[in-house]
């Protein structure tokens, strides 16, 4: 099918000779998208919002990463995106992508295999620019990329790498198609001899800085800071996201490569407009005031729900559901690699952790703090998910202070006069739980309840709220914490890092020293015990698997061990959040998964959303 329709604005420009006709602009092999409900009409703005600085990913989530592949709207299957199709061969070692014939960058220049080669060879693999991210390595070696022809590229890995496609579908896997060679190469020393002048003219400190300024990178605001940069996105930057701006505007990409079933070029909506507000509360006010067409990020905690629900008519919007993919919003990790030997010994007693879990009245917490939403839960995917693992999700959920006390007595922790238990060395069982109060306000609230509940057990927990950088520094770098709170919303699907099962990430706060050991290849940190090592091996293996069933089984093996060890204490199922969408905005699903790796809502294809009066 070929493109036949285009936005009226573009049609005028074609008539005026400013643009080539739509057939030429759109690739010969455009992706034909079947809109969710109906084929739409052109026109209108999509008003979203940005919260201060570092909210660039919100733009990304709407515009979409537009990598070679993407997730389908259900977050279960990977489908071609920029690539017209792909093949996986040799047991998951070789990946071949076929590009779309005649596809163009947003400035009209052709998009070919050369662009991918440029991205990989000159940037991803260029140590001067940045280290090669691990997702392009396997078996300790970087991948190899060949240009088969102008529209075909082949990626080859040393070891099988089943998760590679998922990595590419995630926002972090966009590298191969991120930069347009014809534009971005001018900022590389190997392509431009008079680069120094350019650096100076732009007040940049060096070429890397200049490059980032002009072409951006995956996760930095500067990606949306240069209207000249060609992209493959449905909308391109018009008013950029630069420091201190108060509004960001994106306008339709006239060369966008998707069409609907009637041959009309996408997107339907002309512009994406995002005012920059600093404070979440003012975002909520904007929503109530009807100034936001689509919103999910920042406004979604359940505590805002009553206000937003109340004003639905006033703001002329409806709710949609943003299902969590699994796991829990709040988990407490005791530091099992604690620097203090006594606390470390105590925390490493599994009975102690189990007792703490049994000592929590989760239902009360859910009713009080989470407005009754959610169910008691430890961690891991929900029941209806293929990765669901019963034991790790549901063990020790009951509120059973008696058992808990028995377990603690069994550890020889006698109660002192003040009712607090004593360790062998006579010190009271006291520890602090580090938490960022601004991050998720329900955490401190829940902790306050937990504090009281644990006090019944004779365990003196202190809440230690702190600012986020302090938190990171203490809990992820210097390993100074006793315990810490973090979220663990995971379903373990490819692409996600299961940090609560294996200590591979700075959010694995139960074993930061082990993580350091793992990431440094044994050079730093602390050698983990067997149970962790086994899991790490299984995890490595799972990443290579191409067969989904096999992958699930491997993950369940990991989960079996993790469940036995019971390192992390969860509270309740991740609360399904909700977003708001204007009543007149069509083709928006009533429910979508909520995840960064997905990333919400872009796989639901906002380019197919359109305005229609009721």
């Amino acid at each position: 099918q070929t493109a036949t329709g285009q936005a009226p604005g573009l049609a005028q420009m074609v008539e005026a000779g400013e643009l080539p006709p739509v057939v030429e602009r759109v690739s010969d092999e455009p992706e034909v998208v079947e809109p969710l409900n109906a084929v739409g009409d052109y026109g209108g703005d999509l008003r979203i919002y940005l919260r201060g600085s570092s909210d660039h990913n919100h733009i990304l989530r709407v515009v979409g990463p537009q990598g070679l592949v993407r997730w389908d709207p259900d977050y279960t299957e990977i489908v071609p995106n920029v690539a017209e199709s792909f093949e996986v061969t040799e047991g998951g070692r070789v990946f071949t992508f076929h590009l779309r014939d005649g596809m163009k960058w947003s400035d009209g220049e052709p998009f070919t295999a050369d662009d991918i080669m440029f991205n990989i060879e000159d940037l991803v693999m260029n140590e001067d620019f940045a280290p090669t991210p691990p997702r392009y390595m396997s078996g300790g070696e970087p991948m190899k990329v060949e240009k088969v022809d102008d529209y075909t590229v082949r990626f080859t890995f040393k070891e099988p790498y089943g998760d590679f496609l998922a990595e590419l579908a995630s926002p972090l896997g966009q590298h191969p198609v991120l930069y347009a060679k014809h534009y971005c190469s001018q900022f590389l020393p190997s392509y431009n001899d008079s680069l120094d002048k350019l650096i100076e003219a732009n007040d940049a400190s060096d070429w890397q800085n200049l490059f980032l300024q002009k072409c951006g990178d995956l996760e930095i605001p500067a990606r949306w800071g240069n209207p000249e940069r060609p992209t493959l996105d449905p909308w391109v930057i018009k008013e950029p996201y630069v420091g201190g701006t108060t509004r960001v505007v994106l306008e339709r990409n006239p060369y966008f490569w998707q069409i609907d079933t009637e041959g009309k070029q996408l997107p339907y909506i002309d512009q994406v407009v995002a005012p920059v507000d600093q404070d979440v509360e003012s975002l909520i006010l904007s929503v109530i005031g009807g100034n936001v067409d689509f919103g999910l990020r920042h406004i979604d905690p359940p505590s805002n729900r009553p206000v937003l629900a109340e004003n639905r008519e006033k703001g002329d919007y409806r709710f949609f559901e943003a299902k969590s993919t699994g796991g829990t919003d709040m988990s407490i990790s005791l530091n099992l690699t604690h620097k203090d030997p006594d606390l470390r010994e105590l925390f490493n007693e599994e009975d102690f952790r189990v007792a703490l879990s049994l000592g929590m009245d989760r239902q009360e917490i859910i009713d009080t703090v989470m407005l009754g939403e959610g169910e008691p839960w430890q961690q891991g995917p929900f029941e209806d998910h293929p990765y669901y693992h019963e034991q790790i999700a549901t063990q020790y959920l009951e509120h059973d202070p008696e058992r808990a006390n028995e377990l603690l007595d069994g550890l020889g922790l006698e109660r002192g006069e003040d009712g607090i238990r004593r360790m062998d060395n006579g010190e009271p069982v006291t520890f602090q739980v580090d938490v960022i109060p601004t991050f998720d306000p329900t955490w401190v609230d829940s902790l306050q309840l937990i504090e009281q509940q644990w006090a019944e057990l004779g365990v003196d927990m202190e809440i230690n709220p702190m600012e986020r950088t302090f938190f990171y520094e203490r809990t992820s770098n210097s390993n100074d914490h006793d315990a810490a709170v973090w979220r663990a919303t995971q379903s373990w699907v490819p692409g996600q890092i299961p940090q609560m099962l294996v200590p591979v990430h700075h959010d694995s706060r139960y074993g930061i020293a082990w993580r350091d050991w793992y990431l440094s290849g044994g050079a730093e940190g602390e050698e983990p015990p067997e149970t962790i090592k086994t899991r790490l091996e299984l995890y490595e293996k799972a990443r290579g698997l191409t067969d989904p069933q096999e992958r699930i089984e491997t993950f369940h093996k990991i989960a079996d061990i993790a469940a036995e060890e019971f390192e992390v204490i969860g509270v309740s199922t991740a609360v399904p959040t909700y977003g708001i969408v204007k009543n007149d905005l069509k083709n928006v699903p009533d429910s979508m998964p909520s995840s960064w790796y997905y990333p919400t809502p872009s796989p639901t294809l906002p380019q197919t959303w359109f305005w229609q009066d009721e």
């Binding site: 940045a130 691990p134 008013e239 201190g244 003012s282 109530i288 990171y472 520094e473």
Partner: protein, 328 residues
């Protein structure tokens, strides 16, 4: 003569600025971690995940692994050449980011200052002259309620009322059509039609304190013999009070300009944050929270400059207004 004095003060300001910059930089670097830690934290808060390897590489490139003094020297060296460095967050030269915002901040601060003075002086005088009258109690109470309400709360309530009950949006300093428009007369008009809200929000607490201070000082002067002298000349009560005791009671007011101005700017930060004003406050706050060192550093340095100018002005005014100080 005055020029000479100013010159001397300005010369003084140079070593002073160095001290300030060092302290400012130390303050910015004081929190643990660095820009990248914060960056990771910010993204995590929105549910996004960062690429760790990438962070480490950047850390090295930005020189965060170097000792404090090296980083400082590098920065101040650049500043001396007019190069404020690069904002890590925006990958833009700091110089590009600050000026327009600073200008708006100064405008807002000036407007607020004028508002507070315009309101506080007459009320202060009134409540001193009519001590314990109903008006005195009234203004005192209103003023203190204003003082006791955190600005950002006031801002939030105002915004809520405006949105929910009047359906209008009071945040920002410009209507959307002027937001990115080049400066024009119409844009200035638009600015004026928006600026009064933050001015009132910011001004209330400052007004209350000025009223009280004015009142207290004026009460001290009201019964001085020279006031009687002037009265015997046949001056009207109003002119009398304005010309004599007020003139002396205003002395502490003048001492305050020096810091009132910079403090208005930095005090406005949180309000500006809530109201999403395109002033320097929110950007500075973000830069600080994000540990975007060079950007924050530039703001702090500029604010310090403003304070120094403010203090200079207040010292000069003080000398002009009170000859006893001038000829000490």
């Amino acid at each position: 003569m005055l020029l000479f004095y100013i010159g001397r003060r300005v010369l003084w300001a140079i070593p002073f600025m160095f001290a300030v910059s060092l302290i400012a930089f130390a303050l910015i670097s004081a929190p643990p971690g660095d820009y990248l830690t914060t960056f990771a934290a910010t993204l995590a808060q929105s549910g996004d995940v960062v690429d760790e390897a990438r962070l480490d590489a950047l850390r090295e490139r930005y020189g965060f692994d170097q000792p404090f003094i090296v980083q400082y020297l590098r920065w101040i060296g650049g500043v001396l050449q007019g190069d404020f460095g690069i904002s890590f967050e925006w990958q833009q030269p700091v110089g590009q980011l600050i000026w327009e915002r600073m200008a708006l901040s100064v405008t807002l601060a000036l407007a607020t200052l004028m508002f507070t003075w315009a309101v506080a002086l007459p009320i202060g005088i009134y409540s001193a002259v009519r001590k314990y009258s109903i008006g005195d109690y009234f203004f005192t109470t209103i003023g203190f309620i204003g003082l006791a309400t955190p600005n950002f709360l006031f801002a939030l309530v105002l915004m809520y009322v405006a949105v929910v009950h009047f359906g209008s949006d009071v945040s920002g300093l410009f209507s959307s059509e002027y937001q990115d428009a080049p400066w024009s007369l119409a844009k200035v008009g638009d600015l004026l039609s928006h600026i009064w809200i933050p001015v009132i929000i910011l001004g209330t607490s400052a007004t209350a304190s000025l009223v009280r201070i004015m009142r207290a000082n004026l009460l001290d002067e009201l019964y001085r013999p020279y006031v009687t002298t002037a009265r015997a000349k046949g001056l009207s009560e109003f002119r009398l009070i304005m010309k004599y005791p007020v003139r002396i009671a205003i002395n502490p007011f003048i001492s305050t300009i020096g810091w009132a101005f910079p403090q208005l700017i930095s005090g406005a930060v949180i309000t500006a944050f809530v109201l999403s004003l395109p002033t320097s406050g929110p950007l500075m706050l973000q830069a600080l929270l994000a540990q975007d060192m060079y950007l924050a550093g530039a703001f702090i340095l500029l604010l310090c400059c403003l304070s120094i100018v403010g203090m200079l002005v207040s010292d000069i005014l003080l000398a002009v207004i009170d000859p006893r100080i001038r000829f000490r």
